[in-house]
């Protein structure tokens, strides 16, 4: 499956990954509409920064995913084809148990459509996830295992 690896030695903290993540998960996929005219989706990647060090972090798609085990409704599951850990917003009730157990802080409240959580879905519609594709310094790299 696809995994995204952060390289903190290359990250410049520009947060373009966050911006393109939001655009990719917006209704129109248009940067101006996504930020100005539509309900803004939650970012599914987070740049952590302290002084000169920074890196971007999103869901690790853990092999033993605590969010899947803990999910009350069964909404959080592993996609049998891609192996990605994905949330089904139709079944998610927004109980936030996944937020309570994710060791990476990679799940966020996303109340755009309904009360549910949002997390990295590895951009299933794209060949290369938006955050990786738009990183100007290859500080996010995609590997396949």
């Amino acid at each position: 499956m696809i995994r995204i690896i952060p390289k903190e030695e290359y990250c410049i903290g520009c947060r373009l990954c966050e911006i393109h993540c939001i655009v990719q998960h917006s209704k129109s996929k248009d940067i101006i509409k996504a930020f100005k005219r539509e309900p803004r989706p939650v970012k599914r990647v987070e740049v952590e920064e302290e002084g000169s060090v920074s890196f971007a972090l999103q869901c690790r798609h853990c092999d033993e995913a605590p969010c899947i085990t803990a999910c009350l409704s069964g909404a959080m599951h592993r996609d049998p084809e891609s192996g990605a850990v994905v949330n089904d917003p139709e079944r998610c009730v927004g109980c936030w148990t996944c937020i309570l157990v994710c060791p990476y802080g990679a799940v966020r409240r996303d109340e755009v459509d309904k009360k549910a959580v949002g997390k990295c879905d590895l951009c299933p519609d794209l060949e290369i996830p938006a955050c990786v594709e738009n990183c100007p310094n290859e500080a996010l790299v995609m590997v396949e295992d």
């Binding site: 995994r3 690896i5 952060p6 903190e8 987070e46 952590e48 920064e49 302290e50 060090v53 920074s54 890196f55 972090l57 690790r60 798609h61 853990c62 092999d63 033993e64 995913a65 605590p66 085990t69 803990a70 009350l72 409704s73 069964g74 079944r91 009730v93 927004g94 109980c95 936030w96 148990t97 996944c98 937020i99 309570l100 157990v101 994710c102 060791p103 990476y104 802080g105 799940v107 966020r108 409240r109 009360k115």
Partner: protein, 440 residues
């Protein structure tokens, strides 16, 4: 004839049972499997009954697994089949209908039941519990018109019942013996925040008061007398003073039990070939170091998973659990894990109070983080939960724990990279200082 009717017999059909079945099938593609389920429901999520009653989800949303689930894991789903007794020596169980079934490995995932307190007159009042789909159906049938509902007990179940009743248009009164709502899951401060929201929604909260007597006025109607002497008339009574492990099957078969079924680190009971998991079980609490019944969905699911692995022969010890709660009342989310109310002075408590309902707390024992609570802003709470479960030494990051930007950036580079690159995340990654503390 085969020596056994089933390789795996599962008693129960909820979080622990289903996660055990998933894992069994993952590790053993062929072994035969049967699920003995007392009621007639496909596996559903009990914590969702309050969402159902409040109209936030429909019946379809209650199911924990898709319709073809049992077929997909090649399990016989024996609904409406109560297990009457188990015979450890003979690897055999007997159903209520008298069928005798032989198994190679057995899982007891019998869950919990409501604790019915000895209150005078309670038997005469037709009251509700709030732990099953049937309870939810009853509540929906009885509400939707103007009525006065009384909820006894302000724990998680009682408060969820109260919230659901408000959504059904009832005038709700809650009585709780302790001095605050959600006394186990929350501390004073967070409890006050939740209480404020509940009161704004019109719930009449009476904490520090117990019900001493009940008087039936026919059917569901009645009158409660509180220990302060005041009286409350109600059209509907919900009893939610606590739950107890359903350990009767295990007890009657002579399995070692002590306020819950006792298991070892492999979820094995005192009898060989018999495993147990979920709300009926006392398992190791990582934080307190004591065997504890943590009757919580995520804990039950995790125990089920480990029981499944061990039943299938992949010996793996259960990493332990801690108390953890994610609750939301009238739009205010509160997340907590581990010890939120330190039992004595031997703990350090760090708190942060931001604007409005933003409240956070960390509890430390020495340099080890043992508890956390976040209200209002709950983002990234799981980072703290994972540090608690790892028993991480947080000496070097103590001052940052409750800050908004707290995350992996605050960890030493080698630890951070270890965590990020370790796909088998969660419970097994090293603590911040590299030492995991110790179980005392």
């Amino acid at each position: 004839m085969a020596a056994f009717d089933y390789d795996y017999a599962i008693v129960g059909n909820s979080a622990a049972a289903i996660n055990a079945c998933d894992t069994l099938r993952e590790f053993d593609k062929e072994g035969s499997m049967a699920i003995f389920c007392e009621d007639r429901y496909r596996c559903y999520s009990r914590p969702l009954i309050s969402y159902l009653v409040a109209g936030k989800i429909d019946n379809k949303g209650m199911y924990y697994r898709p319709q073809n689930y049992y077929r997909s894991i090649k399990a016989d789903f024996l609904k409406g089949t109560k297990v009457e007794s188990i015979d450890p020596g003979k690897n055999r169980l007997t159903t209520a209908k008298g069928d005798k079934i032989k198994w190679r490995k057995l899982l007891l995932a019998t869950g919990f039941k409501s604790f019915i307190p000895p209150i005078e007159g309670l038997e005469e009042v037709d009251h509700l519990s709030f732990i099953s789909w049937d309870d939810a159906k009853r509540m929906m049938r009885l509400t939707g018109k103007t009525l006065n509902a009384l909820v006894v007990g302000a724990g998680l179940i009682g408060m969820k019942a109260a919230e659901a009743l408000v959504a059904r248009g009832a005038a709700v009164t809650v009585v709780e013996m302790m001095d605050r709502v959600l006394p186990q899951a929350l501390d004073d401060e967070a409890s006050a925040l939740v209480a404020e929201r509940c009161q704004l929604a019109g719930i009449d909260l009476n904490t520090g008061e117990g019900v001493t007597g009940l008087e039936s006025r026919g059917g569901h109607k009645g009158r409660a007398v509180l220990d302060g002497g005041s009286e409350i008339d109600f059209d509907l009574l919900v009893m939610a003073v606590g739950v107890r492990p359903r350990a009767e099957l295990a007890e009657e078969a002579g399995l070692s039990c002590d306020r819950g079924i006792e298991v070892d680190e492999f979820q094995l009971t005192s009898e060989k070939d018999i495993y147990a998991a979920g709300d009926a079980v006392r398992a190791m609490d990582i934080v307190t170091g004591e065997p504890t019944v943590n009757a919580l969905w995520p804990v039950a699911a995790l125990q089920g998973k480990y029981a499944g692995m061990n039943m299938a022969g992949a010996e793996t010890s259960y990493p332990g659990n801690s108390s953890m709660n994610s609750v939301e009342f009238f739009g205010l989310p509160v997340l907590s894990a581990g010890i939120v109310n330190p039992p004595d002075d031997g703990y350090e408590v760090i708190t942060y109070r931001g604007e409005r309902e933003d409240y956070r707390k960390a509890v430390l024992k020495g340099d080890i983080i043992v508890g956390m609570l976040m209200a209002g802003r709950i983002e990234r709470a799981g980072i703290l939960t994972s540090l608690i479960q790892e028993r991480a030494n947080v000496r070097r990051v103590k001052n940052f724990l409750l800050e908004e930007g707290f995350g992996h950036i605050n960890f030493p580079r080698v630890v951070r990279q270890g965590r990020i690159m370790d796909e088998m995340a969660g419970l097994r990654v090293a603590g911040i200082s590299g030492d995991r503390g110790g179980r005392s």
